[in-house]
């Protein structure tokens, strides 16, 4: 057999396999979408819409549906997630820094109609309204805001990739500096003027600005550091004319001490300091030096902020049956001083019972002996206070008890009562 004949013979063997792949249900010639539409007449109107899904338009209903039977709803040939990615692979590139939750969970139909739609890309709605159908809090936040970033009302996809981003978190198409510069040219005189001549073109704009909107001119975040409002960047940074204009004049708490000397000096004079105050990052560990949505210019809400370092404490709370109110409310500073204190755990008072007594009238709810004269039966060097029985953050037991109050908690001390 000549090589040419051998190739022809092999091709002949492969042809049926190719034909099966193209027509897995062995439909008769011409028996494609037209056959389906004989019964599914409701689709005819959709076929007339401006945007029709390619398999629908080409009559390849069996690309997605099994004409006979299926383990999935709508007679889908596979689960909704994998059916879409069979054709639309690459929408979530490897190494993506952020991925739309809907895309991860196979919720393509949350945004796209699988057959046809009046909008491009078979989107069920246009512009930001589509996004706000899930991101309701964003829509609520924008309501009534005096200054809104105009792209937010037009289309979120101006800044966000709806599927995934390999460039940034929050599905941003680029890191913030470069992304903003696409519209807000740093080379323009007005840009330089509004930023006091500082070269912030590649900086993280969201350090000061709310990218969606705010009630402050310049869509600045709600809480603004006073030097910013007074346009006195050089209080912390080198002069704008310097070659390293964004360099800080000092590092750590020494930078902030110039203005906030009272706070820093008081902290450094206490017995115990919250170490981030004194470490290399200093105050900036917890505070944003420019602006913030949080009071006190905190970089994020208190519970999240404290949890950045004290993660284990929060992990325990996740499974706790009872939680201390201030913890549940994210008010760690109800009991702890954030900068420094003279007591362990940076507690506001030396005596635990006094601290608890600020909220709890413990004398009214318990007749258990308590105080500096009552020795803890488990340890001769301890006296009984609230923490002898209760945990301060959360517990697997009722009433924030260390152990089950119906058994092992009490008999730790009252051993004669043990059964």
């Amino acid at each position: 057999m000549t090589p040419a004949r051998l190739i022809l013979a092999l091709a002949g063997l492969l042809l049926p396999a190719v034909a099966f792949a193209q027509n897995p249900y062995r439909l008769k010639p011409g028996a494609t979408g037209k056959v389906c539409l004989d019964c599914h007449t409701e689709l005819e109107d959709q076929m007339a819409l401006p945007s029709v899904h390619t398999p629908v338009r080409s009559g390849q209903c069996s690309d997605c549906h099994n004409p006979h039977a299926s383990s999935h709803g709508q007679l889908l040939a596979a689960d909704g997630d994998s059916i879409c990615t069979d054709c639309h692979a690459g929408l979530i590139p490897a190494g993506s820094l952020s991925v739309h939750q809907a895309a991860i969970e196979g919720g393509c139909v949350a945004c796209h109609d699988p057959h046809a739609a009046a909008n491009a890309n078979v989107l069920t709605t246009t512009g930001s309204e589509l996004c706000f159908s899930c991101h309701e809090s964003m829509a609520q936040q924008l309501e009534g805001q005096e200054f809104q970033h105009s792209p937010v009302r037009q289309s979120c996809t101006t800044c966000h990739d709806p599927h995934a981003s390999t460039a940034s978190d929050f599905l941003l198409k680029k890191p913030t500096g470069g992304l903003c510069a696409d519209c807000h040219d740093p080379a323009r005189a007005s840009f330089a003027q509004s930023h006091m001549g500082y070269p912030v073109g590649s900086s993280r704009c969201t350090s000061c600005h709310d990218p969606h909107g705010s009630n402050t001119s310049g869509i600045l975040l709600a809480e603004v550091h006073e030097p910013i409002t007074r346009k006195m960047c050089n209080q912390c940074h080198a002069p704008s004319s310097a070659s390293d204009a964004l360099a800080l004049k000092r590092t750590g708490q020494a930078l902030c001490r110039g203005c906030h000397s009272e706070v820093v000096n008081q902290a450094l004079a206490r017995d115990r300091i919250h170490w981030p105050v004194a470490d290399a990052s200093g105050c900036l560990t917890c505070h944003n030096p420019h602006a913030s949505t949080e009071k006190g210019l905190l970089v994020e809400p208190t519970t999240l902020l404290c949890g950045e370092c004290h993660a284990a404490a929060l992990d325990q709370l996740a499974s706790a049956a009872t939680r201390h109110g201030p913890v549940a409310d994210g008010d760690c500073s109800a009991c702890h001083e954030p900068h420094a204190a003279d007591n362990v755990f940076l507690l506001a008072t030396a005596d635990v019972a006094t601290l608890c007594g600020e909220c709890h009238d413990w004398g009214a709810h318990s007749s258990h002996p308590l105080g500096p004269e009552v020795v803890d039966q488990r340890n001769p060097n301890l006296t009984v206070d609230c923490l002898s029985c209760h945990r301060p953050h959360g517990s697997a037991h009722k009433a924030l008890a260390h152990l089950d109050p119906g058994g092992p908690l009490c008999v730790q001390c009252h051993e004669q009562m043990s059964r």
Binding site: G252, D279, A280, C309, H310, N379, P380
Partner: protein
């Protein structure tokens, strides 16, 4: 350094460590007594530091009472022999004995190291000239057998090593990815270890390395907030899990050998352990939340 008589023998303890895991207990801690009182019968209060010379002397940083306490071996038992109160040391949080018998104590308020003579006399503040303009803020320190002083400088994000004469010999930088480094240790081979409490892992630097490197295997699954670390003569590392109430024992490679003790009030248990000293087969733990020094025998 070895003296078999230097064993705290305060009787058999009822509370054995039932909560410790049964597996991987190649090295265990057996409760061997506890120290509660000073020479006048007053109780310790929130002690955070402890060290022993391995022969006859134990020093305690009785932090809550703002003093140092001395204990000496008398007739096979540790007996309190006096207190040291110094205006330059209003809040002692860590203590170490150097090879000459001098006491070095860290003042938690000023973040400076104070030199104290064997009889309790103030000998001055340790001058820490890092050779740059950066302020040195001491979070912890250690002394090796040659009298070299290893200083954990929180403000500079580094460890400074000073010779016994005081000159700066070496700087070891924190890694770029670091949470908060709470304490450091040095083993007999000169390897430096540090504990990152936030990322719950041990960092280390050999004698020729300029940056701390994370040891293999983190401790997130076995600890809540480890804050103190010490190395023993055999190169094992002991970490106090202040947040979880327990002691972690690691090989110098970072491999976890076992977790010992658990949170509790009775002897053998720990509440917010804060300081460690591992000498001659014994581990002394400044058991801050229990107002005592808990002593363990290290059992192989």
């Amino acid at each position: 350094m070895t003296n078999p008589a230097f064993r705290v023998a305060t009787g058999v303890l009822a509370a054995l460590l039932a909560a410790a895991p049964a597996a991987a207990q190649e090295v265990r801690l057996r409760p061997a007594g506890a120290i509660y009182l000073d020479a006048r019968g007053s109780g310790l209060k929130a002690p955070e530091g402890v060290d022993s010379d391995g022969r006859s002397l134990l020093i305690v940083a009785d932090t809550g009472n703002r003093r140092l306490l001395r204990y000496e071996l008398v007739s096979g038992r540790l007996a309190p022999t006096g207190e040291i109160r110094l205006p330059q040391l209003p809040y002692p949080t860590q203590v170490r004995l150097d090879p000459s018998g001098q006491i070095l104590a860290l003042d938690g308020r000023s973040h400076r190291i104070v030199r104290v003579g064997p009889n309790g006399e103030f000998r001055g503040l340790v001058e820490l000239d890092a050779g740059d303009r950066g302020e040195v803020l001491v979070k912890g320190f250690e002394v090796d057998d040659e009298g070299q002083l290893y200083v954990l400088d929180a403000a500079g994000a580094r460890i400074l090593v000073f010779g016994s004469g005081g000159g700066l010999r070496r700087q070891i930088a924190f890694p770029a990815e670091v949470g908060f480094v709470s304490d450091l240790a040095v083993d007999s081979a000169g390897m430096v270890f540090a504990v990152d409490s936030v990322r719950r892992r041990v960092l280390a630097a050999r004698t020729d390395e300029e940056t701390l490197v994370p040891l293999a295997g983190g401790l997130a699954a076995d600890s809540a907030f480890p804050t103190a670390i010490v190395a023993d003569r055999l190169g094992r590392l002991f970490l106090a899990d202040q947040g979880g109430g327990g002691i972690l024992i690691l090989e110098r490679s970072g491999a976890l050998l076992s977790r010992q003790s658990a949170m509790g009030w009775k002897e053998g248990y720990l509440r917010h352990p804060s300081g460690l000293s591992a000498v001659d087969g014994q581990l002394f733990v400044a058991d801050r939340g229990n107002n005592r020094i808990q002593v363990f025998s290290i059992v192989d």
